[in-house]
């Protein structure tokens, strides 16, 4: 049995004197899981994601990702860890407008010091796999929302991370584009990629995730792990997708 990708033990995060953004959350995510984090706005979803990515530190508890205690890493070590083991997809894409699509995808690899040729090959392969190779020389401003999110996904995957974190990946997209992105994530998951994504859309979560947890006011209130993930096709019908 392989070690879990994520292990949280008794994690809390407080900001000032107000109620904690996260309170005593313990969680384990196995390799290959597709975990959806549900909850209303302000429930602590993004805080949880930031802790997993090493972008923030818990006030209490421990956070282990891919075998590393990310809560104890220095700023520099955290950055190095992130580019090697974690891919990030944001709600508003966060592409750099002054770089081409290809350069955006290459950036994490270049920050990690990857050789130009190998990194470029990997980036082009990802763009091709995601169906946006024709936009390699374009600038993000010319792409649709769905295409930009695909670029963001490609960027997140360029260093072959153990963990893909997506914060409201469809939040800025229309329904169709959002479903398109969900399908993409499902396909990735089918290749064995471990995914944790934050969303407020319960229907999509139930349709595409293998497991959902719910946060309410910083507390982990629900953790439902199902034997199958349910995918929604273009007609709205559901079909079972083997894990």
């Amino acid at each position: 049995m392989t070690d879990p990708v994520i292990e949280l033990h008794g994690v809390s995060r407080r900001y000032g004197d107000g109620p904690p953004a996260l309170h005593d959350v313990s969680l384990t995510v196995a390799v290959g899981e597709a975990l959806a984090v549900l909850g209303p706005s302000g429930s602590g979803k993004s805080t949880l994601l930031n802790l997993l990515a090493g972008l923030d530190r818990p006030s209490e508890g421990t956070v282990k990702v891919a075998g590393t205690r990310v809560d104890t890493l220095s700023e520099a070590a955290s950055a190095r860890f992130r580019r090697a083991h974690v891919g990030l997809v944001f709600q508003f894409f966060n592409l750099l407008d002054d770089l081409t699509v290809l350069d955006n995808v290459l950036l994490p690899a270049q920050l990690a010091g990857a050789r130009g040729g190998a990194a470029r090959q990997r980036a082009e392969q990802l763009l091709d796999t995601l169906g946006i190779a024709r936009h390699a020389a374009a600038y993000p401003g010319r792409l649709s929302g769905g295409e930009r999110q695909r670029v963001a996904v490609a960027r997140a995957l360029v260093n072959r991370p153990a963990l893909l974190l997506a914060d409201e990946p469809t939040g800025a997209l229309d329904r169709a584009a959002g479903e398109d992105v969900w399908r993409l994530l499902t396909e990735l998951h089918a290749t064995g990629q471990t995914i944790v994504l934050v969303t407020h859309d319960e229907q999509l979560a139930r349709a595409y995730a293998t497991r959902t947890i719910r946060l309410t006011d910083g507390h982990l209130t629900t953790d439902t792990a199902g034997p199958v993930g349910v995918a929604r096709n273009a007609t709205g019908a559901t079909a079972g997708v083997p894990r």
Binding site: L55, E75, A76, A79, R82, A84, F90, D98
Partner: protein
């Protein structure tokens, strides 16, 4: 408080770094400007300020006591147009001889027969005190005489320090007890009135000196009219001599004019830089608040109200900075102006009061106008456009975007780390801001380049003016008795002395210097003949044109001598040495600020057969210790009874003043330039905080973030240096000849061309240094950005 008032207050509080930067830049700019403007004002009318402070004499008159009584002279105070008068004071012209002792030796004009040092004729006025209704003399050293055997000498051509004893032709000995300054130049020295009686020898001509101030004395015609009015009240022929203050002022202006252009140039540079930097800082600060302005407009604020709010937001920290800068500028000026008192001979030791009002007011006006223009531009934008500024809006169009992308593509392919490449492309993303940074750096580099060049030139000028770079000197003092005792000044055979010197180990070169006064037809003042035994060309003499003299009958001279005699290089001039005519063919013009003529001892041997050097100057080989050499040489010269000393040429205090001013203003301007860079970077990083957070989220380490920020200013810093250095060199090439021309001097090219590769390369890199100085703190802050918080920033 109104809604917009709260906006202003919150803007000042929330943007603490921005507020502090605006305050600091304003403070530094005002400090530099107050100092610069204060010097400008002092430079414009140093003589006038001192003259007014001393209630100077518009006209000084000498009257014949045989033809006019004291009562008549007193009554002349009521002449038409006279507003004030002083006198009559007894006046006498005497030539003293210096009997030595006391610290320092006076400027020598030795008698042709080699006797005691004889001073040029001095105009001695008998006054009981330095004050009075007119010509309130300022005692700058020592005190006013309190006994008949004491004398105070005027600050001027000859330096006779307190303690020196002067012997009058009648045998009386007076001790110099002080030096004093009369802006009206009414006397060469002062004694008590009773002392003048004792100094007057039988048959000598005494006079009465009267000093007048007129209601109108601004022009020569007005002074002439005043003189005529005075003379009309006196018996005909009573006035034997008169001098207008305008002639005195003309000479004083020429004396100080050498350094005035420098101060003017530097002061103007300081003012211009200060205004530029303040303008760019404010424009950048308001420009960065465009979105905030959009939000305010969306909420219902009028464009005019928004403009008022942002002008106020800029003025509050600027006003605090301006107050601090005004105080700092005035405090900094105290030691500086105290030293420029020497430069100008005036009593200005504080900055004119109105400078402390006008300058900060001017800087605040610049702040207000710049903030008004920048916020007006933003306020006039459509609200929706203002709201989307800097928020990742589609920037696919425009030349600026195309340039940024081209730069991005280029740096992506260059062999450098990605963070460095991202940083290097940054200036093209914000070209206007990059231009502002470039301007700051170029101005700072130009200032340093100009200052260093000026300093180097002034050192070469000083060396040439001093004409004394010797390592060891032998000075024959007037009271130095011959070996074995006896009277009279001892001057050994120069051939013996030079032979002894040449025989010493460590001697590289040596020559003897003798001086004698000479008259030239048409000139009222005597000139000095500097007669050399040996070759003196190694000792700081720099030719402006022609060549050094090579044989008997030839000489070289400075511009002042050539101008006074109307001679040019190649002409022959006749001087009268001790009544004997000596013909000198001018072989070249040497850089010299006086009216001396330089020739070989053999040229004037026939006219002055007893003239022998009073000084020997020796240059040593590399590595020879001057102290040890001097001791050995003294031992060797024992038969001649001479003593050698290591040469300690004091640095000209005026140059110390100028160098100090240069360093102070340069430091201020560099600080202002670095603050300008700092501010632009802070603004840029604030706008990019989200982008920085994304990059950090993608794995950019703090060190890589610092490298990126530093890279964003490195190129601009180098280019700024490449622009600033030639500008600084050009300004130096422009100002230095103007400085010299103001003092009636031609400068050799070697005095102006002081920059070499060893200087220019580091100066160019100075632009990079300024850029890095301004970038260090912002780079650190960028590296410490809290990623999680910044990611939530849209």
């Amino acid at each position: 408080m109104t809604g917009l008032g709260r906006v202003v207050r919150s803007g000042i509080r929330r943007r603490r770094v921005q507020t502090v930067v605006i305050g600091l830049v304003s403070a530094a700019a005002v400090t530099a400007s107050v100092l610069g403007a204060g010097l400008l004002v002092a430079s414009r009318s140093p003589f006038d300020a001192g003259f007014t402070a001393q209630h100077g004499a518009h006209l000084s008159v000498v009257a014949d006591p045989q033809l006019v009584t004291q009562a008549q002279l007193i009554a002349s105070k009521t002449a038409s147009g006279v507003t004030d008068a002083a006198g009559p004071y007894p006046v006498l012209t005497l030539s003293f001889t210096s009997t030595g002792t006391g610290a320092g030796a006076p400027g020598p004009e030795p008698a042709a027969d080699g006797g005691p040092l004889r001073l040029p004729p001095l105009t001695i006025v008998g006054r009981s005190g330095p004050g009075g209704a007119v010509d309130r003399v300022e005692v700058v050293e020592g005190r006013w005489p309190t006994r008949p055997d004491e004398i105070v000498v005027a600050v001027g051509v000859i330096r006779i320090p307190p303690g020196v004893r002067l012997q009058a032709p009648g045998g009386q000995t007076l001790t110099v007890v002080g030096t004093a300054r009369s802006m009206s130049a009414t006397a060469s020295a002062w004694v008590l009135p009773s002392a003048l009686d004792a100094l007057t020898m039988p048959g000598a001509t005494r006079g009465y000196q009267m000093l007048y101030r007129f209601a109108a004395a601004g022009t020569g015609a007005e002074v002439d009219a005043g003189r005529a009015a005075v003379e009309a009240t006196l018996p005909p022929g009573a006035v034997t001599g008169a001098r207008s203050w305008l002639d005195v002022r003309q000479q004083a202006v020429e004396d100080s004019a050498v350094f005035v252009p420098f101060l003017v140039a530097f002061a103007v540079l300081g003012l211009v830089m200060a205004v530029l930097i303040v303008g760019t800082v404010i424009a950048g600060a308001v420009g960065a608040a465009t979105r905030r302005i959009g939000v305010l407009k969306a909420l219902g604020a009028t464009p005019a109200g928004v403009v008022r709010a942002f002008v106020a937001q800029a003025l509050v920290p600027s006003a605090v900075g301006a107050m601090v800068g005004t105080v700092a500028g005035n405090l900094l000026a105290l030691p500086v102006l105290a030293e420029t008192e020497q430069l100008y001979g005036s009593a200005n030791t504080t900055i004119a009061w109105w400078v402390s009002l006008v300058v900060p007011g001017g800087i605040l006006a610049v702040v207000a106008v710049t903030a008004w223009a920048a916020s007006l531009r933003a306020a006039r934008l459509r609200t929706v456009d203002a709201l989307t500024v800097g928020r990742g809006a589609d920037r696919t169009g425009g030349r600026s975007a195309a340039l940024a992308r081209a730069a991005g593509r280029l740096t992506a392919r260059m062999p450098m780390s990605r963070p460095v490449g991202l940083g290097a492309a940054r200036p093209f993303t914000r070209p206007v801001r990059a231009a502002a940074i470039l301007l700051s750096i170029a101005a700072g580099t130009a200032s340093v380049t100009f200052a260093l060049g000026l300093g180097g030139s002034l050192i070469r000028i000083q060396t040439a003016v001093e004409q004394n770079t010797a390592d060891v000197v032998i000075e024959i003092r007037p009271d130095e008795a011959p070996p074995g005792g006896g009277t009279g000044t001892h001057r050994p055979d120069p051939a013996d002395v030079l032979a002894t010197i040449a025989a010493q180990e460590g001697t590289r070169a040596a020559y003897g210097l003798a001086q004698a006064p000479a008259a030239v037809a048409g000139l009222t003042d005597p000139v000095s003949i500097n007669a050399f035994t040996g070759d003196p060309t190694w000792d700081g003499f720099t030719m402006v044109s022609g060549r050094w003299f090579t044989g008997p009958g030839e000489a070289v001279a400075g511009e002042a001598f050539l101008r006074a005699t109307g001679a040019r290089v190649g002409d022959t001039v006749t001087v009268q040495a001790d009544g004997t005519p000596v013909r000198l063919r001018i072989a070249g013009e040497v850089f010299d600020t006086g009216t001396a003529v330089f020739t070989g001892a053999d040229t004037i041997a026939a006219a002055l057969p007893l003239l022998r050097p009073h000084e020997y100057r020796i240059a040593l080989t590399d590595g020879t210790d001057p102290g040890g050499y001097a001791k050995r040489l003294t031992t060797a010269l024992q038969p001649q009874g001479l003593t050698a000393y290591p040469n300690q040429t004091p640095v000209d205090p005026l140059l110390v003043v100028v160098q100090g001013l240069t360093a102070t203003l340069t430091l201020l301007l560099v600080a202002v330039a670095a603050l300008g860079v700092f501010n632009m970077l802070v603004l840029d990083l604030r706008e990019r905080v989200h982008e920085l957070a994304v990059q950090k989220a993608l794995g950019m380490t703090p060190r890589q973030t610092i490298a990126m920020v530093v890279a964003s200013v490195t190129g601009v810093g180098l280019v700024g240096g490449l622009i600033g250095v030639p500008v600084g060199v050009a300004v130096q090439h422009l100002v230095l000849p103007a400085m010299a021309a103001g003092g009636g001097l031609h400068l050799p090219d070697s005095f102006v061309d002081v920059y070499g590769p060893a200087t220019l390369v580091p100066l160019t890199l100075g632009g990079l240094v300024i850029a890095l100085l301004g970038a260090l703190l912002p780079a650190g802050w960028a590296a410490r950005t809290r990623t999680a918080v910044a990611l939530r920033t849209e």
